[in-house]
Symmetry: C2
Subunit: 453 residues, 2 copies
């Protein structure tokens, strides 16, 4: 069980009447995460994740991994340091390289602090004996830090210079089988985003510096988004404006004029790469005639720290965090009577009983016990609401009735068995999400509209 009194959670204390020099515009998620002591700024554009945020991140990692395994992914780890010579071979050091962190080792050899790993993974395959066509498709993924020296790093975890990413690379015998890999990984992405229950938009996107022939982005719609998306309410088409004529008045898919523009935060991106990397780096497989052929590749990224921040950005209120259920740091927060209050003695037994029963239902790790009894229930309830726990249970003046606060809903006074049922229902809902058996409103809508593939 987790005790609030032991939890490292350094709430930002701004003295009353203090003149706060606002040096940058903060987004809602950034403001809440910082004020509540979930993240801290390390240096410009880098962030420290503190225990509560780390719990959400670990849940996000597990969820993504589950979906990568379903998509046939095999996990690997590639070094942060990639020799720049590999990037010279693919021509990616020829354009604007101001976003790259470059470093030299003691012998003078130059490395990139990898912003992405196409070169590294392709060179790794090129340096093994060519694998047989029978071993393909090959789908490798990793989870690790990425580095981009952004000109405009901002909004906290939403555009940080150092961030955590899941990147997958697929290898196939041909364009047509590569498209099957693309479809399989895309299905895993859609499953993941559906599990988060945050409405997302999948759009046709530009291939840009990454290259290749086909690309999609996954966006959360938010005013702080840096992309402009065009959506057609007739056929469900959606595209990033950068792939379209900015003067577009009619839908490129159904020619209707029912187009609207929204701002989006890109949280994932997929590319069909073809042989853009395998050719110059010489990554081949042996075809059924025993001859080497260039591998056809795809790459697929999810910004893990970004997706958490963007989900919070979209869902939170000005004062309270709102988590996707599967990412909430704890399922339940339990608050008992204040020390010395007239309820304390009366309710202590009930509180202990509840702790035990809740642990049995949701697991001790999912239970946060706010036993800071030197604080009033009101103060602790405010903290709990700001942190956005899906279920907050108060054992107080109304005992044996309990007060149940479900995130975003009016509080209810309930008997203990009813409260336990609600917790049970929450756990079951999570279970269904994990198994992918819930169809969300969003999924439903997207299915009705038939979205871009």
């Amino acid at each position: 069980m987790n005790k609030a009194s032991r939890l490292f959670w350094p709430v930002l204390v701004t003295p009353k009447n203090a003149v706060v020099k606002q040096t940058e515009q903060l987004s809602r998620s950034q403001k809440l995460l910082t004020e509540l002591g979930l993240i801290k700024s390390g240096s410009n554009g880098t962030y420290q994740l503190l225990p509560i945020a780390q719990r959400a991140l670990d849940k996000c990692i597990n969820l993504v991994q589950q979906n990568m395994q379903i998509a046939g992914g095999q996990k690997i780890s590639l070094p942060v340091l990639t020799p720049t010579q590999l990037w010279k071979k693919t021509g990616r050091l020829e354009g604007d390289i101001s976003e790259f962190y470059m470093v030299r080792d003691r012998s003078g050899k130059q490395f990139l602090m990898s912003p992405t790993h196409e070169e590294a993974v392709t060179a790794m395959l090129a340096s093994t004996a060519p694998i047989s066509y029978r071993q393909l498709p090959l789908r490798l993924y990793q989870i690790g830090p990425k580095f981009r020296d952004e000109l405009k790093s901002r909004f906290g975890l939403m555009r940080a210079k150092e961030f955590l990413m899941k990147d997958m690379y697929t290898f196939d015998v041909s364009e047509s089988t590569a498209k099957e890999s693309y479809a399989a990984v895309s299905a895993a992405y859609e499953r993941f985003f559906a599990q988060l229950e945050v409405p997302y938009v999948k759009v046709q996107a530009a291939t840009g510096i990454m290259g290749g022939s086909l690309s999609h982005e996954y966006h959360y719609v938010s005013a702080v988004g840096e992309d402009t998306l065009l959506q057609c309410s007739q056929c469900g088409y959606a595209g990033n404006l950068e792939v379209l004529d900015t003067e577009t008045q009619t839908c490129p898919s159904c020619q209707s004029t029912s187009l609207s523009q929204v701002r989006g935060v890109e949280v994932a991106h997929t590319f069909l790469l073809g042989d853009k990397y395998s050719k110059p780096l010489g990554a081949t497989y042996l075809n059924n005639a025993g001859k080497p052929d260039a591998l056809t590749m795809g790459c697929f990224g999810i910004g893990l720290t970004r997706v958490i921040a963007a989900a919070l950005e979209v869902q939170s209120t000005e004062q309270q965090l709102r988590w996707p259920k599967l990412l909430a740091p704890y399922d339940v927060c339990l608050i008992g009577a204040k020390q010395g209050s007239k309820e304390q003695l009366k309710t202590e037994q009930l509180e202990l009983q509840l702790l035990e029963q809740l642990s049995a239902i949701c697991g001790a790790q999912e239970l946060l016990h706010d036993e800071r009894k030197e604080l009033t229930i009101g103060k602790r309830l405010m903290d709990a609401k700001r942190l956005g726990h899906p279920l907050i249970i108060v054992v107080g003046a109304k005992a044996p009735k309990l007060e149940l606060h479900m995130c975003g809903e009016e509080p209810q006074e309930l008997e203990l068995p009813e409260v336990l049922r609600m917790v049970q229902a929450h756990v079951e809902h999570k279970q269904q999400l994990l198994q992918g058996t819930i169809k969300t409103k969003e999924q439903d809508l997207q299915q009705r509209l038939g979205h871009v593939h």
Copy 2:
């Protein structure tokens, strides 16, 4: 279930009669891991972990985390990039800095690719409102890549320039409570090393560049170790030679002359740091009089990639890997008859039945099915033995009897129920290790000798 035919596992093929230019001396673990396609060298001193090795690493991470939680640890993430200005304040840029990777961002600001995080974590605490003495001890840990531009990077994962580490930092009100934290984390370390069942030596060590007043190292004894350890067979004292007079003839603890020297690979290190970092960086807490006082710190590291390689180095044979049970990539490998062999039809039903029953006992994820039926049983058995699976089951010519190969033991011919019992016993043994209820020979010995604290 995991299928061997789909597993990315690029065995190093060296053509017969090829002249191999041996540019560096390879250690046993490095040679086996490389030849078997578990790791690949990225550039000098950096390594790519491929799927089988990654599974062992993930198990190691989980095991360490479990022990960190028991020691009251809270998980966080600190950026790889630490501003060098923080290291200037603690004086750690004044000595030999040739091992540091330094990088500048677009504004010219300089960063270290952190080789360790004392400065970063201390500065983080210094920049929050001082926490109350009631919130201490505080024990924070993280798992992430570390960077050291070693002059002599060698032996693969044992001394890599980029490696994965678990680092914990503890914060206390005084030297005496800091010693309690030190004891609690040390106990977690001993539990972890006991769970790996690889004999280890805990020695008194030098504090070196890290500073502080007390330090211990955990070593695996190996000829390729870079440290010389002195052990006393009388009283159990053990020390790193670097803290002793090299001419030492008598035990510093019991004055006996029963001293012997061994070579050790350092796999973990603990330090009581005092206020070496909290003073210059201004990290304080509020004492019971409400006044700020410097925090007393400790730091504790386990080289995760290194501990795996070192365990393999110590336990493996020239030809076969030997894993700690809790880190073995799979518990069981199942090999069926060759396609077209006279046994195939007869045994297919048995193989399917076994797959189902094994999955039920050890979990589908822990089962590797080598269904490469185009290969002989002999060839696949050799692969399986080289990979060092704890249990290998062959369904072949002796059906309905099965052949069970337990790692390092003579094969046995057994009936199906007996085989299932052996697998069940293995799973139970792992469970007991996880719960810490097994006392290993090593633990027993150390307890008898009473080792250094």
